[in-house]
Amino acid sequence: MGLHMNMSFRYSFALAAVMCAGLSMAATADAKTFRWANSGDVSSMDPYARQETFLLTFNSNIYEPLIRRDKDLKLEPALATKWGQSDPTTWFFDIRPGVKFHDGTPLTADDVVFSLNRANGPGSNMGSNFVSVKEIKKVGDSRVEVTTKYPDPLLADKWAALGIMSKAWAEKNNAQNSADMTKNEENFATRNAMGTGPFMLKERRAGEKTILVNNPNWWDKPTHNLTEVIFTPVSNPATRVAALKAGDIDMTYEVPPADTESLKKEADVKVLEGPETRVVFLGFDQERPELLESNVKGKNPFKDKRVREAIHRSIDVDAIKRTVMRGQSFPTNLMVAPGINGYNKSLDKRPALLKPEEAKKLLADAGYPNGFEVGLDCPNDRYVNDEKICQAVVAMLAKIGVKVNLLAQTRSKYFAKILRKSDLKPGDTSFYMLGWSPAQTYDVHNVFEALIQTPNPATKKGQFNAGGYSNPKLDALADKIEQETDKAKRDAMIAEATKLYVDDFGYIPLHQQAVVWAARKNIDLVQPADNSFPLRFVTVK
């Protein structure tokens, strides 16, 4: 049947076919088109629209940062040739000469100052990278100086994802600020982009496809050989995998673990895998005197370390790795991943699993001989196999008498439920799954500050410590780590603080999920550990 239809279509639409052939022929000859897909679309072309890895990495192909990360996530010069601290509260950045925007205008220090201020301005989602910043100013034609309120040794790391825009372009198109949700008008920069990067935006159809083309006037020597890049969001994982097998796309980002094995068997496909810097973990409500969602009344079982230990040591992350994750995970006992500054391999050992009787005994000692019931919050579209991991946890805890009621929901609803409120009141959860990566700084302090320190509305520490784990000793150490510049001393403190939360069973780190990408055999690309995907490393054979 298919053949018949094809034939009749072929003839009756010959004219149309000729017409469109003209369109597509124009680009062929030596064209290297790279088609790739992801589950979701880039939410905006504005580089400051949202602080999320995918948007930042996608837009970095068009807008380049002052300092970029290489294949190994090390900092290297991009639009800044030189940078550093002239004194503890002053940073300088020397702007690379001779760089041109896609429209041919040269890059100046004014553009950099404008961009940084825009990133710190209304509508921007990048404000958290500017907490320490006092002033940004131009010093001469090719230097930008930043003064900070207090010494901020990590400023350069934070800004390594911040793309630089053209002041003139933004002003001409009335896009001096990022899109403002409160005004009913569109921001030009939401669907248009014009930077200095290796690729230029040719066509943007939100939710449908985004086409980039090579920037022939790029300042750097291209390591890619692409002339055109077509990005399509394909939300259904099965379709994405099928499209790759069928050769309709050249590469897919975020392959479902279940499909990695079968993709490896495909002759024309290769699978790339590596650990991600994000750690997926479970957290307890250790703050409320009585759990929100439990049959235990009048007390909070998770305040008892024995309960936390029993649970921690009953979760078999290796089994989760084998079946749920199909081998695509790296079990851990720490809240940071290898590759993050402050990761301590010697401490990354999970305590031995308990037999159910042993765990039950711990629970009995804590006063719960018959176990108890508790609700578990879990996203179902945020982390790889998040919901299935939670299901497995439910099964494992059932064996020690802890009846877990799983509530898995889509990310927006899930985050709304579990995260702390604006006044840092605890989130509406008793037991939850979360993932965290210190993606801006690649330093463990970010983890301490956001997740492990006691929530404090005054200092803004512990904003994402949803369950309110608290250890004053650790709080003090973490504050010292922030200021300490001596690496040896700092590492020692980090080790000490790490040991504290490990011994407290404050969290249950599960694993780093693997970053699994798959591509056609004729594609060469680089897979950094932070799951960013710079197109400048892609070549098509």
Binding site: R50, N184, E186, T190, K209, A416, Q463
Partner: protein, 330 residues
């Protein structure tokens, strides 16, 4: 006739207002849009400030009033998720959905109706029974499974058709069409079949039972007694009399197709309003969801109007009665 259309238009406005109320008041409370708008790392103060600026702390009736006033002007605000104007997001996506729904409807009609006629004329023939059993597959397997199986067979194994997307599209004004390119046409085949399968089954079964019914009618017997040819009887007399219910159902199903496209579009990464809607649900993107529901309401109103007008063309009884809506009994 004019009075009838006027009455219908008034009813339509009432329907649209109701749908608007539903659209707005329901989704106002789904999830927290702030979480969709900002990254996970955004500070609590920023979140609260944004909430205040968006008017999410206003009383609901005031929000609804603003919503209706703006909607009437085609302003649905900016999408929380992509910060693009909702009106344009929808306008960009609607051609994809309409073309897909249209092809699915054509597929369902041009396969379903002849199959229904055949099985209705020869109900006892083995091939009729076969058709009927096979057609049941259309309602025995979930759409998403049919879709993915079609992809596996025709895209992955046979490599005949694309696995997803619309192929190349051509812009005619603001309308992007896949009808003018070879790849666009090829891309339409699998999704149309997937989407139309259910409707095909429905139509076939409807036409069959209507045919069975009509073939027993006295005027068919009288037509036979007048010695008319089978061709004239089956297609001239019988089929035309099954048209009224078929038009009703096709009209309603066209609305359903657009809504059912949610699933098909998700499976085939078809950039239509259905996919936009489901993404919006996941992100609690209220403006888009509300606009989508209003759009469905509007399409419903238009389709119903068209169906009513078609009745006039098909059924002379209505023409003289001055149009009291539907024929009784269907």
């Amino acid at each position: 006739m004019l009075a009838f259309i006027l009455r219908r238009l008034l009813q339509s406005i009432a329907v649209l207002l109701t749908v608007g109320l539903v659209a707005f008041s329901l989704f106002r409370y789904v999830g927290d849009p702030i979480n969709a708008m900002v990254g996970q790392d955004t500070s609590m103060e920023d979140r609260e400030a944004l909430r205040e600026k968006l008017g999410l702390n206003d009383p609901a009736p005031i929000q609804f009033f603003h919503f209706i006033v703006n909607a009437a002007q085609g302003k649905f605000g900016l999408s929380y998720r992509t910060s693009e104007p909702v009106g344009r997001l929808i306008a960009e996506r609607i051609p994809a959905t309409l073309e897909l729904s249209f092809c699915a409807a054509v597929f369902a009609l041009f396969v379903g109706v002849p199959m229904g006629v055949y099985t209705g004329l020869y109900p006892r023939h083995w091939s009729s029974r076969l058709f009927q059993a096979v057609s049941l597959i259309g309602i025995s397997l979930p759409t998403f499974l049919i879709g993915i199986l079609l992809i596996l067979v025709f895209a992955v194994w046979l490599r005949l058709l694309p696995s997803f997307g619309r192929g190349d599209t051509v812009m005619i004004g603001w309308w992007s069409t896949g009808f003018l390119t070879w790849s666009g046409l090829k891309a339409l085949i699998l999704p149309s079949i997937t989407l139309g399968m259910f409707q095909l089954t429905l139509l076939m079964r409807l036409v069959r039972s209507e045919m069975l019914e009509v073939m027993r009618a006295d005027y068919i017997k009288f037509a036979r007694a007048r010695g008319l040819t089978n061709r004239a009887i089956n297609f001239g007399h019988a089929l035309k009399n099954t048209l009224v219910p078929v038009i009703t159902v096709t009209g309603l199903q066209l609305g359903a197709l657009i809504a059912f496209a949610i699933v098909t579009e998700t499976v085939f990464a078809w950039p239509g309003v259905g996919q936009l809607f489901i993404q919006s649900v996941q992100f609690s993107d209220v403006p888009v969801m509300a606009a989508y529901l209003l759009l469905i309401g509007l399409l419903f109103v238009l389709i119903n109007l068209a169906v009513d007008l078609l009745y006039f063309v098909v059924d002379p009884r209505l023409r003289s009665q001055g149009g009291s809506a539907r024929v009784a009994g269907h």
